[in-house]
C-alpha cells in the first residue's frame, strides 16, 4: 500500500516535469517573439559623423551588431554563410580588412590574426553580434581608429580624441562664465531657477579639468559635468536666474545673469540692468549669421518598429535604406556636397514628423530612400500632386507644399535617371502619391531600389548599393547648379 502510494507520487512528479517541458515546447512554437524592453545604445563620435548603435542584452551581457557599428564609418560587406560570418570593412580611401566569426563560438579572426571574444559570437537573422566590451578593440584593429571609450555612459570617441572644453569665470562689472570648445557646439539648453542646463547629444565633449568645479563667486557658484546613456550634460549653478549666449561662431558659450524681466508698466529703461528676479529666462537661440548653403537631406524611410517591406525574411527595408543612405552621403561628400541623414540609427519617425523635420532643416534637396521587392531595378519618383482645381476642403495647404518645387524635383529625377542610364542599370521614372513628398517645401525625389535580377538578396550587396549610390550622387552633382542654395 505504502509502496503504491510512493510510486503514484513519483508518477505525479514525472507527470509534472513532463507538463512543464510540454508547456515550454508549446510556448516556443506559439509565442511570437516577446518585445524586449527599450534598448539602450552606444554613441559613437567619429570624425565624419555621430551615430548611435543599439545595445542588446544577449546571453546575459551587452552585444552590438557589427554592421551597425562599422557601416557609418566606411564600406561594409557582410556575408553570413551558415554558421560562419565573414565581414569585410573598407575605410574611405583605405585598404579592406576582414573579420571572421562563427555562431556560438568565441574564437574568430580579426584583420588576419586569431581573436578571442569574451562571449560567444551571435548570428541572428543574418546579422552578426559581438560583445560590447570588445568594441574599442574591434574599432582599433578593423577600422584602425584610435578610440577612447567611456563604458559607464557608453560614449565611444573614434578617430579623434574627445573635444575638451574649458571653464573660465571672468569678473568684470558682473560675473560671467566662459565655456570654450575647440569646435562649434549646438546643445539644447534649459534654464530653471538658478540653473542653466546644457545637453550635448551629438558633440564629443568632455571637460578639460575636473567634472565638478566650484567658484567662489556671488552669482555663479559652480558647474557639474556628467555623461550618461550616450549623452553629455553640463549644469551651471547660480544664485540668480542665468542665461546663455553663444559667441565665436558657436565655439564659446557665455553664461551670465539673466536680465530683469520688463516692468509691467512702461518706464524709462534702467541703464544698468540687474537680475534680482526669480523668473527664469530661457536662453536665446544661437545667433549665427545665416549664409545660404547647399544641403541634401537624405531620408532612409521607415525605422524602428516600422520595418518597411520584408525583402526576404532576414532583409528588412529599413536596414537596406539606412545602409544605402550612408553610401549616398559618402558619395555626395566625395563630390563636395554636404548631406545629412534624417535618421542615422534604427529609430521610428512618423510621416508627419518626417515632413516637419525636413521643412525645419531647409534643405536644398530632399531624397527619400525606399527598398521593395516589386519590379526590377531602381524606381525614381517625384510627387503626384493633388490637382490645383480642387476645392479647399479636399486638400490642406500642407498637402500642396511640393507644388512650387515640382519642376525642380522633376529635373533632379531626370538627372539621376540619366546617371542610371549611363551605368546601364535598369530603372523606371514615375510619379507617385508618396508621403511625405507632398508636404516637402523643397525639391524632392524618392528612390526605391528593387533587386536588379531574380537574385533578391543581391539588393543588399555592396556592389549594387554602390552603383545606385554613385548614380544618385552623380545625378545630384550634375544638377546642383540649377538648384538654389537655401538660408538655414
Amino acid at each position: 500500500m505504502s509502496l503504491f502510494r510512493r510510486t503514484s507520487r513519483r508518477y505525479l512528479v514525472v507527470l509534472a516535469v513532463a507538463a512543464v517541458i510540454a508547456t515550454a515546447f508549446v510556448q516556443r512554437h506559439l509565442v511570437v517573439h516577446a518585445q524586449p524592453s527599450e534598448p539602450s545604445q552606444l554613441t559613437v563620435y567619429s570624425p565624419q559623423t555621430t551615430y548611435s548603435v543599439p545595445v542588446l542584452e544577449k546571453n546575459g551581457q551587452p552585444y552590438v551588431g557589427l554592421v551597425e557599428l562599422l557601416e557609418p564609418l566606411g564600406t561594409v560587406d557582410a556575408r553570413p554563410d551558415g554558421k560562419k560570418y565573414k565581414l569585410r570593412y573598407t575605410p574611405p580611401g583605405g585598404k579592406p580588412r576582414e573579420a571572421q566569426f562563427t555562431e556560438g563560438k568565441d574564437k574568430g579572426k580579426l584583420a588576419g590574426n586569431g581573436y578571442k571574444l569574451p562571449g560567444n559570437f551571435i548570428l541572428q537573422s543574418g546579422r552578426g553580434y559581438i560583445p560590447l566590451a570588445v568594441v574599442p578593440d574591434v574599432m582599433l584593429r578593423l577600422a584602425t581608429l584610435e578610440v577612447e571609450y567611456h563604458p559607464a555612459s557608453r560614449r565611444l570617441f573614434a578617430g579623434n580624441p574627445p573635444e575638451r572644453f574649458t571653464l573660465e569665470l571672468r569678473k568684470d562689472t558682473t560675473s560671467r562664465l566662459f565655456i570654450s570648445f575647440p569646435a562649434a557646439v549646438n546643445p539644447s539648453i534649459s534654464t530653471e531657477a538658478g540653473h542653466v542646463h546644457f545637453t550635448f547629444r551629438r558633440e564629443p565633449v568632455i571637460p578639460a579639468g575636473a567634472d565638478s568645479v566650484k567658484f567662489s563667486d556671488p552669482l555663479i557658484t559652480g558647474a557639474t559635468f556628467s555623461e550618461q546613456a550616450g549623452v553629455a550634460e553640463l549644469d551651471v549653478l547660480g544664485t540668480a536666474p542665468l542665461m546663455a549666449n553663444f559667441a565665436d561662431g558657436g565655439k564659446t558659450i557665455i553664461v551670465a545673469a539673466a536680465p530683469a524681466p520688463p516692468p509691467p508698466v512702461a518706464q524709462a529703461p534702467e541703464p544698468s540692468a540687474q537680475a534680482p528676479s526669480n523668473v527664469p529666462v530661457p536662453a536665446p537661440p544661437p545667433q549665427k549669421p545665416s549664409t545660404p548653403r547647399f544641403l541634401v537631406l537624405i531620408d532612409p524611410a521607415h525605422g524602428g518598429t516600422d520595418v518597411g517591406a520584408a525583402i526576404t525574411p532576414s532583409l528588412a527595408e529599413k536596414d537596406i535604406v539606412l545602409a544605402l543612405a550612408r553610401r549616398v552621403q559618402r558619395e555626395l561628400a566625395n563630390r563636395g556636397i554636404a548631406a545629412s541623414l534624417l535618421r542615422n540609427s534604427d529609430v521610428a519617425l512618423s510621416l508627419d514628423q518626417r515632413a516637419v523635420a525636413v521643412n525645419a532643416a531647409r534643405p536644398a534637396l530632399y531624397v527619400a530612400l525606399h527598398a521593395a521587392n516589386t519590379g526590377r531595378g531602381v524606381h525614381v519618383f517625384t510627387s503626384l500632386l493633388p490637382a490645383a482645381n480642387l476645392s479647399r476642403q479636399d486638400f490642406l495647404p500642407w498637402d500642396t507644399a511640393q507644388s512650387a518645387f515640382i519642376d525642380l524635383s522633376g529635373s533632379v529625377a531626370g538627372s539621376v535617371a540619366a546617371e542610371l542610364e549611363a551605368r546601364k542599370m535598369p530603372y523606371t521614372t514615375l510619379v507617385a502619391p508618396l508621403r511625405p513628398l507632398n508636404n516637402v517645401a523643397a525639391p524632392a525625389i524618392a528612390i526605391e531600389i528593387a533587386p536588379a535580377t531574380d537574385k533578391v538578396e543581391e539588393i543588399a550587396s555592396a556592389s549594387y548599393e554602390e552603383q545606385v549610390a554613385q548614380s544618385i550622387a552623380a545625378g545630384i552633382a550634375a544638377i546642383r547648379g540649377k538648384l538654389p542654395e537655401v538660408r538655414p
Binding site: L30, D394, L434
Partner: protein, 196 residues
C-alpha cells in the same frame, strides 16, 4: 522501478513534443483556412442573367511599372455603385491569380463603392486589401492608379476617387501610397505609363 519511471518519462516527453508539433500544424492550418475562405468569398459570380457589356480594366504590371488596357465582356448589375464594385472586384481577382503581373495580399476585396454627388466614388476595401498588400512605393502606387483609372474608364462621370479600408480613412495603403487624399482620375493618368 527506476527504469519504468524513465520509460514513462521518455514517453511523456515524446507526447509533449508531439503536442507542440500538433499545435504548430494547427496554427498553420488555421492561417491556410482563413486565406482559403477569403479567396472563396471573392469568387462570387456576377448575376448570370442580363445582357453582357464591355468592361475595360487597367491592369498593373510590376515589371514595367505600367497599366495595360484590357477589354472584356461581363454581365454586370444594373445599379451604378454595384456595377462599379463588380468591376473593381474583377480587377482584384486578376491580382489574386497565382500568375498575376501585380500580386496583392490574399483575401483582398471591395466591400462597397459609394457614388457621391455624381462625380465622386468612395471605394471601401476590406482589411486584407491594405493589411496584406505588398509594401512598396511602386506596388502601392500601381494598385491605387489601376483602381482609379479602371473606375473612370467604365464610369466616365467618376472624376474623384477616395479609398477607405474597412470603412475608415487610412494614412497609407501599406506604408507608402497616401490614402487620405482624393484621387483625380485625370491626374492619376500621369502616375502610370499607359500600355495599350
Amino acid at each position: 522501478m527506476t527504469r519504468r519511471i524513465l520509460l514513462v518519462f521518455a514517453a511523456l516527453v515524446i507526447i509533449a513534443i508531439g503536442l507542440a508539433f500538433y499545435a504548430l500544424q494547427l496554427r498553420r492550418k488555421v492561417a491556410r483556412d482563413e486565406q482559403l475562405a477569403a479567396q472563396q468569398q471573392i469568387a462570387i459570380a456576377p448575376p448570370a442573367n442580363g445582357p453582357s457589356t464591355p468592361v475595360t480594366l487597367y491592369v498593373a504590371s510590376d515589371n514595367n511599372g505600367a497599366l495595360t488596357k484590357t477589354e472584356m465582356n461581363a454581365v454586370l448589375p444594373a445599379e451604378r455603385s454595384e456595377r462599379d464594385r463588380s468591376i473593381l472586384r474583377g480587377l482584384l481577382e486578376l491580382y489574386l491569380q497565382p500568375q498575376t503581373s501585380h500580386p496583392i495580399g490574399a483575401g483582398a476585396d471591395i466591400r462597397d463603392v459609394y457614388v457621391m454627388g455624381d462625380d465622386t466614388a468612395i471605394v471601401d476595401t476590406n482589411s486584407a486589401f491594405a493589411d496584406a498588400h505588398p509594401s512598396g512605393v511602386l506596388a502601392e502606387e500601381l494598385t491605387v492608379a489601376s483602381i482609379v483609372t479602371t473606375l473612370n474608364a467604365n464610369d466616365a462621370r467618376i472624376a474623384k476617387v477616395k479609398i477607405l479600408v474597412n470603412g475608415q480613412e487610412r494614412e497609407t495603403l501599406a506604408g507608402h501610397a497616401d490614402l487620405r487624399r482624393f484621387y483625380l482620375a485625370s491626374n492619376v493618368g500621369q502616375a502610370t505609363k499607359d500600355v495599350p
